[in-house]
Amino acid sequence: MLPALASSRRDFLRGSLVIGGGLVIGFSTISDSLSAAEHTAAVYSPNAFITIYPDERIELTVARVEMGQGTYTSLPMLIAEELEIDLDRIVLSHAPPDAQLYGGERHDQFTGGSLSIRTLWQPMRQVGAATRLVLLQAAAQTWGVPDQECHAKNGVVVHGPSSRRLTYGQLVAAASRLPLPDVIPLKPISEFALIGKPVTRLDAGAKVNGTALFGIDAVVPGMLFASVAACPVPGGTLRAIDDRQTLSLPGVCQVVRLPTAVAVIAENTWYARKGLEALRVEWDEGENAHLSSADIHSLMRGALNREGAVGRNDGNALKVIAQDSNRVERFHLNPMLAHAPMEPINCTVHVKADSAQIWVGTQVPARARDAAAKVLGLAPDQVTLTGYYLGGGFGRRLETDYVEQAAAIALQVKAPVKVTWTREEDIRQGIFRGAYAHSVAASVDERGYPIAIAHKIAGPSNLARWAPGALKEGLDGNSAEGSLQFAYDLPNYRSEFVREDGPIVTGFWRGVGATRNMLVLETFIDELAVKAGQDPLNYRLAILTHNDRARQVVKRAGELASWREPLLPGRGRGIALLYAWGTYMAQVVDLTVGEQGDIAVQRVVCVVDCGVVVNPDTVIAQMQGGINFALSAALYGEITIREGRVQQSNFHDYAVVRMNQAPVIEVEIIPSNLPPGGVGEAGTAGFGGAFSNAIFSATGRRFYQFPIRLDQVDG
């Protein structure tokens, strides 16, 4: 355990980071008395991220969760670069729920939105550098030499002239007596020894021998297991159950009733599941009892006729388009999607008299703890939450519905209880990516280049529910993401978002707004190119005269993909540009359409300019993974509703790409010293347009709704 005083000192540093937020952070007000009080510190823990032990162990607390995206390697790299330590010596720990310490400027501890590196790029290097400076000063004072004669390397401070050495572990006590520095100079990019070099993932070893622990792996002494069924119709409630047969089954302990769900508690998950299957349940299906996907789609299409929040309005696009009798107008629809992470939703909770413990994989540890506390009638500090690796998040684990549900179940159980959703429950009770309707219209000049484009989007606002303060005059910048920026030359451009939440709660999905909006835009740009009789790549370059980063990725992707080579029959090639999260990207998709309409993607070229890169192999991996994620959605992804019920249930009817369908994905990173851009979302968001355009290239058919099924009539 850390000494109690350490945490107030850590609070201070974190507070300073939040307030300062700049290159130089003031630590000067740490009082001498505080420093003196730490004289006997057994460890050196100058901030919430670093703990140095006398035996040379260095523990780094990772402020963002690891769900595959590589933060457990890249964030330690940022600290280690400045702290001057070997990565193979460190021990990693999951950050506990603490929005003040780990929630950054927004005081909201979440992992998502391709924000980890973008927001922590500077603070994590600063905590490393500040700590190194103190250790160096501690050594210099021990030896009675000037700081300037000392340097730190590989966890050791060396006095140059005398070659004396003190390890960080040996400096723990001396460093604890010193204040943190006022000024924290950071290395220039040219001096990075670690950042920008490929580093082996720190979580890989445990993930190839079965020892990596995910939330579903929590083992708590004496725990029972729950299988749960919520009302299959969203918004419905539990009316009655007959549990006589269930209670007679082996290993079944208890049946728990919740207002909207029922759970069977048993000695293992299988018994719980069998018990659940034996239950006779009556639901009050509520007002969504007859809801269908068609209802939701027409609601969204209808909302396009309403006025929305205008997120961007250059020139006067509406007027120019209205006056053009040759205007081009298209309507698109993006369907509902489930996340289907490989680790089904689960949460373990133990409720005691005045406290509770939670074991869970979550993208929002503090929100999850607070939400559970509310359900349990406890204060947040009476609830502890232990985090784990996430077996995929993709936005699903930004929600706390399953933590609240598990807490409500555990409240009725006199033992720790692990609630594991079946895959069927995981698919049907998703917080789905909502359906969005789009209209996009253009007026073009005599050469076919756009002079005005207006893109109108209608669909749910997730921010309004999840972070209402983030709405700006009714504009959900997340829902409109990818339509608010515009890379092409254009005097008249308009983006408008009509909020229509619809009857079902919806949520964030990998690639968020840009996945939908850039698919629409890049498909439309392709249509304009074809209408102008131009090659889609040349057309894009012709209207990208002011954006060098966008030009470069488009050109380079074309070169790598041999864009100019003629296509064989049945083959198609499509390109799309992406700009979002400070990242520019172009993808070229090469695919074959068989005689039966079967689609096989052979190859995807992805050129990405995401600013300065921390771990290049992670960027490549994120692009490869993001593209496969998007390919699944393009080929199969759709949640449909009939009579209020989700029709999909498992991987046979909510199919995802498998080994035999996975394309070769070549990724090239454009070297850059610009601030880091996001990578977790980008691969997914950049794929759809290139895929859809490749389908057109192969078949001459345009599609306005994913998934693309070549046996259906044109959209």
Binding site: E66, G68, Q69, G70, T200, R201, D203, A204, A206, K207, V208, N209, G210, T211, A212, L213, F214, I216, D217, V219, F225, P250, E267, N268, T269, W270, Y271, R273, K274, A340, P341, M342, E343, P344, Y389, L390, G391, G392, G393, T420, T422, R423, D617, A621, Q624, G625, G626, N628, F629, N650, F651, H652, V656, V657, R658, M659, N660, A662, P663, V664
Partner: protein, 156 residues
């Protein structure tokens, strides 16, 4: 009562006959390296070896396993093929979230144990039952080829 040989250790399990091996492993023996994904043998994250053959433990009742040798991810490193696959997984930086990788590795070890130098088609056939939502497929393919080559050359 069922007697199961799991990773070389005999375990007595006082469970109903229809309990799938997966839940016996995870909830009773607490070998949690084998994962739950779908419950219908659709995704492969629960893959283990029974007498060296890759099987989906989520649909395998414990009553069918008397006298058979069960190997899970926790013991896969005891075979040369297992070590070769784990090593190739690391050198190709395969993992992302890692949840499916126990099952991927178990399928891959069974493959290179049965087919010394698997072709792309062999890999498609053996591995298409294992879903990875993070999309690590191309690295899995490369890692399998590397593991097979290293096994052939006696590197591992």
């Amino acid at each position: 009562m069922y007697l199961l040989n799991i990773n070389g250790v005999d375990r007595k399990l006082d469970l109903a006959p229809d309990v799938p091996l997966l839940w016996a492993l995870r909830d009773v023996v607490h070998l949690t390296g084998t994962k739950f994904g779908c419950g219908m043998a659709l995704c492969g994250v629960c893959t283990v070896h029974v007498d060296g053959v890759a099987v989906r433990s989520c649909v395998l009742p414990i009553s069918s396993l008397a006298g058979k040798k069960i190997t899970t991810i926790e013991a896969v490193a005891e075979s040369a093929a297992g070590r070769a696959v784990q090593s190739a997984w690391l050198s190709n930086e395969v993992v992302q979230c890692g949840y499916c990788q126990s099952g991927q590795i178990m399928s891959a070890v069974a493959l290179i144990s049965a087919v010394a130098m698997p072709t792309d088609e062999d890999i498609d056939n053996a591995m298409s039952g294992n879903i990875c939502r993070c999309g690590t497929y191309s690295r899995i393919r490369d890692a399998i080829k590397e593991a097979a080559a290293n096994s052939q050359n006696g590197v591992m």
